[in-house]
Amino acid sequence: MTAPPLIPRRMAGVFVAGCAVLAVLPALDLSPYAHNQLTLSYVMIAGALAWNWMGGFVGQVSFGHAAMFGIGGFVAGRLMLHMQLPPPVCWLAGGVVAGVFTLAAHPTLRLRGPYFSIATIGIGEISRQVFTYWEEFTGGATGLSLPISAVQKYQLYWWALALAAAVALASIAIRRSSFGLRLLAIKADVDAAADVGISAALYQDAIFALSGAVVGVSGGIFASYFVFIEPGDMFGFDRSITFVLMAVIGGVGTSLGPALGAIVYVVLRNYLLASYPELHLGLFGVLVIVIILFQPLGITGLVRWLVRRVQRAASPGQP
């Protein structure tokens, strides 16, 4: 008996087609505003999906992902400033350093549930304080300016799209693979998972490092996009909150839900900042509450529910 492919053929086809369309879009008279918003969305999609590997697949909700995001951003920034390496190399390096950082957080990975989550708040807060103080690295309160030209910033669109596409594919593949199965088992019952031979420590470490590394890379691209970054923002609790919000809105635990959540978040945030700037955090808070109580799988759950309703209406004879 052979295993089903990690990426079903039809899905792969749709996916490639979609990416091709998106890749060609800027050539078709796309406004600079839309070009930039899409670039940002791709970065957010990658970050949200990567967060979801921790929060959704293995069930460890992190409120501290800004730490890896910031490390990725500043490592990339410093490399660009001092070593004049091409941006993609710097982003990758940022990702690697972020990944190593999460491995250093190994002791917290042995914590369960709320204990882990609060520990991540600690990681985030302490990172913020340490890196803000570490002026040689982050520039302190004055921050860092990256040497990104206008042309390079324009080209970020395709790099970000590539990252988002890669992370999306990885999400689908992980979910369908035996690796993903082990993660879900750990999420369901850590002890029972051990009783069938799964080493929780190993797999949690692995997915945390992967998640951190990807978020680190997205931090590098984000930094290149905004050109100017400062530690209070990159490492801030609000930054960590963003990942949580995107995943919850889209659907924590689903393969691609957080990607949807990222798009909705970017759009909603722009709208709220323009129309009701003082209310945007609170409205997101209300959204989270509503989602948790009524449709824990966010937009994905809503869509599935609607599809089931439509199916049932179309064929009333079925149970």
């Binding site: 052979t2 369901a188 009783d195 069938v196 080493s199």
Partner: protein, 247 residues
Amino acid sequence: MTALLAARGLTRRFGGLTALDGVDLTLGEGEILGVIGPNGAGKTTLFSLIGGSLAPSAGEILLDGRPVTRLAAHRRVRAGIVRTHQIVRPFANLTIFENVMVAAIHAHRRTEGHARDRVAEALELAGLADRPERYPASLTLAGRKRLELARALATGPRVLLLDEVVAGVNPAEAQAFAALIRRIRDQRGVSIILTEHVMPAVMSLSDRIMVLEYGKRIAEGTPGEVVADPRVIAAYLGSEAGQGAAS
């Protein structure tokens, strides 16, 4: 006959309480060992120690003569010792197939193709082959116990620890389980340690029986010998009220 599994001087203390006190145990290849005793005798603690979810306060456990005492639970499974739980713990978010699959992929470092075959075999043996895409919530208690069994089987164990598999199911199901357990030993050559409150099941299935009371081993032998042992009779008669209330 060298024992497949040997435990010597197993002791476990919880603060001031000694749940298990210097228990020795041997399990031969292809043997079914029954462990019985009144409530609180230490049966589940014994299982947790052998299975690896608890570390002993003293004593050692040897598989094929090699010590496994320091191995964590998940490593013990790889070594070939796997347990089921008294209160079944299926992975609620995985289908029946996936539940067994996640156990199968782990046991041996084979390709995924072989793991799927092992899953099919385990499901077949446990009588769950007809609805592998359903979720555990859709199963009855007996069904979930079968799932637990299938999951344990899929790891390709050499020693299977069955913790009250028969408890809580109706007599017909209990019969089926007993037959299943015998089949596992006969067809797969798995050695089994089982514990039950349901006496007829233990008596008919076990080649040998070990009796625990207050954490100590008080008797060991064939079912016939153990049943006639005055100390065993005293242990059960003495706590008959407790037994009655528990069942």
